[in-house]
Symmetry: C2
Subunit: 500 residues, 2 copies
């Protein structure tokens, strides 16, 4: 039997789950393929209904889900309740996208004369790819796990999903899966459309499986690389969508420090300690001006950290890694411990920690991501020092700039430096708290992700679709959305976008 752990105490939690045997993992994928084919007879409006039914079921089971997850993750009921809401919201947003139909990118070029001569009729839309494997992440037991955005976007696209449950929240995964499959069954979805496996070996089987058409993963760079190695050894490559690592630099201008020192200090403290600092968008390094205004910010962050109780981390590996990386950062000799909260004694406790350095001393050694409540504050004299330091900061999901309106020209210069390095630029706010919406992009250059796609927001669906074109097809052989008579979705017809 597998066990998970109560991170508040370190005590084992017995489950009635077992590591999925290899042959069973294979059977789960085969069932997903069969369900994928069976579900392909339904249209996108049917799938919208399925997503809504899953969303309703998540909401209806919120209390049970939160109770199980709180015991396994220590994240607290308030945060977890919000996260279940985020999960159901994601399913409903993808249902909305399905009804809108724009995600199909339906495009029609009628036959006709062109500068290159007579041309055939060509029509294209996006179609599902098949069974998709989703690795649940540790830090969001709902929104980036079994009931998460990868599952919602893959199902929305018309694919089947096979989940690899994260070892840190096995019971949460099992209950989430039970809630989803019960709702899907009641809705009339084919059995096996959403499968699940437990255990590292079963996860490897999924990634290597010939029927699997893509893998979604949110986790560590090392974990992602291990899966990429399996994919690179496949006879047929498949896309791997990895969201891997991010330091998320945050810059406070002199103007902002002068105008809003306390507000920024409080916001930054809240952001780097949110969820015990276990957000992929946690600001891991902040550039603060030298001088009195910057001192005020740093002193306030430090005093808040010093007074703080211990945070609870998700599991032993994360807790040990946090301590090791903090110690490595300090051992560089270019970073000093400015403040350290209570270490705690029970379970996987970690002390909120503020490290100090200067922009000139920011090297690759001090930009290692510490997954947990730790921030490096780098003091700078001028913008050129920040730009130099950014070369040592790995490309990230986000970058943030706090500034005042009269600094617009300097900020524009900084944005030009930041843009090539990140997927989202935040102004006068904090990168944690990723809005789920149409415009969102949660991705970035390596090592933030290894693709040009997002894992949050409507366009995440595109990862699990591929284009299919029809040439001179008789009307009856076309998908309905590509027929001349169809209306109600945006389509590009003979080069011009038409709304419906």
């Amino acid at each position: 039997m597998l066990t998970s752990t109560d991170p508040r105490t370190g005590a084992a939690i017995a489950t009635d789950l077992e590591a999925t045997p290899v042959e069973q993992a294979d059977a789960v994928v085969r069932a997903a393929q069969a369900a994928f084919e069976a579900a392909s007879t339904h249209d996108r409006l049917w799938r919208a209904g399925l997503l809504d039914a899953i969303a309703d079921a998540l909401d209806a089971n919120r209390a049970d889900l939160v109770a199980v997850a709180d015991r396994e993750t220590g994240l607290g009921a308030g945060r977890l309740e919000g996260e279940v809401g985020r999960s159901s919201f994601q399913f409903r947003l993808f249902a909305e996208a399905l009804r809108d139909g724009g995600y199909l990118e339906a495009t029609i070029d009628h036959a006709g004369q062109t500068p290159l001569g007579a041309a055939p009729d060509i029509r294209r839309l996006l179609v599902p790819i098949g069974p998709v494997v989703v690795f649940g992440s540790s830090n969001f037991p709902f929104a980036f796990s079994v009931a998460g955005g990868d599952t919602a976007s893959a199902l929305a696209g018309g694919n089947a999903v096979v989940l690899k449950a994260h070892s840190s929240h096995l019971e949460t995964s099992a209950l989430s899966h039970a809630v989803i499959t019960a709702a899907a069954a009641e809705y009339g979805a084919p059995d096996g459309l959403v499968g699940i496996v437990y255990g590292t070996e079963a996860g490897r089987v999924l990634v290597a499986h010939p029927l699997v058409r893509a893998v979604g993963f949110t986790g560590s760079l090392g974990g992602g690389q291990a899966l990429l190695d399996i994919i690179n050894a496949r006879p047929e490559p498949i896309p791997f969508y990895g969201e891997l690592s991010s330091l998320n630099p945050l810059i406070v201008t002199r103007g902002a420090a002068e105008a809003r020192a306390a507000e920024i200090a409080d916001g930054l403290y809240g952001s780097f300690t949110l969820g015990s600092g276990q957000f992929c968008t946690k600001p891991g390094i902040a550039f603060v001006p030298d001088g009195a205004d910057g001192d005020a910010i740093v002193e306030r962050i430090a005093s808040r950290a010093a007074e703080a109780g211990a945070s609870v981390l998700l599991n032993e590996r994360i807790a040990n890694s946090f301590d090791e990386i903090r110690d490595r950062l300090v051992a560089t000799g270019t970073v000093s411990v400015l403040a350290r909260g209570s270490d705690g004694v029970d379970g996987f406790a970690a002390a909120p920690t503020v490290l100090a350095t200067t922009a000139a001393q920011v090297t690759a050694e001090v930009t290692e991501e510490a997954f947990g409540p730790l921030i490096v504050v780098a003091r700078y004299g001028d913008d050129a020092q920040i730009v130099s330091a950014l070369d040592a900061v790995p490309d990230s999901l986000t970058a943030t700039v706090h500034s005042e309106p009269n600094e617009a020209a300097a900020v524009a210069g900084m944005v030009r430096e930041l843009a090539p390095r990140v997927g989202r630029i935040v102004f006068d706010g904090y990168p944690t708290g990723v809005r789920v919406s149409w415009a969102q992009h949660h991705g970035g250059p390596w090592p933030a992700t290894n693709s040009q796609h997002t894992s949050v927001g409507v366009s995440a669906i595109r990862r699990f679709l591929r284009p299919l074109a029809y040439q001179d097809a008789p009307e009856a052989q076309l998908p309905p959305e590509l027929r001349d008579s169809y209306s109600g979705i945006p389509r590009r017809i003979d080069g011009r976008l038409v709304l419906d």
Copy 2:
């Protein structure tokens, strides 16, 4: 000095080109990066003008380009004149796409209350990625080479391009590059925006270069795999867009055979021998019904092949490979030589060849792609035999069905079988001759390509773009297309697509 070869005679053609030294290849990439940054101050309308200027220059130099290419490729003036036209058309089509602006996928979610609470303003569009490396292909010295679609789409996206000239048409590459760079310089583009290198070693340097952000490649599976191995060894992975291999199955139903035997035979003969059979979309296997109507098709194709003179292949490697694969196919013992045209004596000659087998005997051994004028005709009894045989056919860029209107139900069943295996389904036509248009998709599951993208048509631009999101950005810090006041391009605003 490098030499290329006249494929009609096998004689060497002296050039004044040299293999690019490693340090020079590095300098070309650095110049591309600098040009990329300099060009980023221009908007998309400026780039549209650049693409039009390049298109005009290609047209103006058509005669010279064709003369040089004909000597190096043996493809003939008529075909090559058309191909220069295709190249200039591609540049103009991407200019049109830039003016349309829809390719930016501009999306705006205003700040506001949501079911998850107050949400920030998020805006997203697609931005260029940096220097892109393009490997010219052998078989389209213009449309898929220096002046090809990868170059046009990468430049359209706002990137710089570094070309690896194909060894089969070095002078064509050099002249194409000279025409493009002269037009770009006259237009006012920064030096280095389109660079070029010669030689295998320089190509490797490009793929491994830290400043390079993507690679476009059209060529053999083996060549693609060699480049993928270099990419997999990079510290930072980058996308590799490979168009690699395709057998392009074509199915003739009983009804079509009865109704149009001679027409189909002539069309199929023309398609598999077009460009000496050196099209990635060449139909490499045709399923023809047994019985008299199928016999009529096969006999007519065979007699046309038997009477045909030798085709000229592009280079010695392709010619040798063609002979080897033909011999391997015959050596399986399940394939017989139905017809073979003249072998020719000079240069890289190849005989148009028709091989015969049955659908039941179609195994992986007889579905090896022979790049050249060769087709395998597989006779079948019923559709189930075709479906079984398709499991031995590698996934492809295209599949084609010839049928009659009264067979619609059976055709629908066949389309369901074909759809997961290909990127384009052709009805009652031929897969060669890929329309360049908005709806086109030239891609397919592995080994046709290794991505979910197209290399032909407007959406090819998406390969060389990435999303960038802005959160709560002041109006002045936003790209113009994301400002509230902007109009004239399609945008999705608060979840609703708006045309302008």
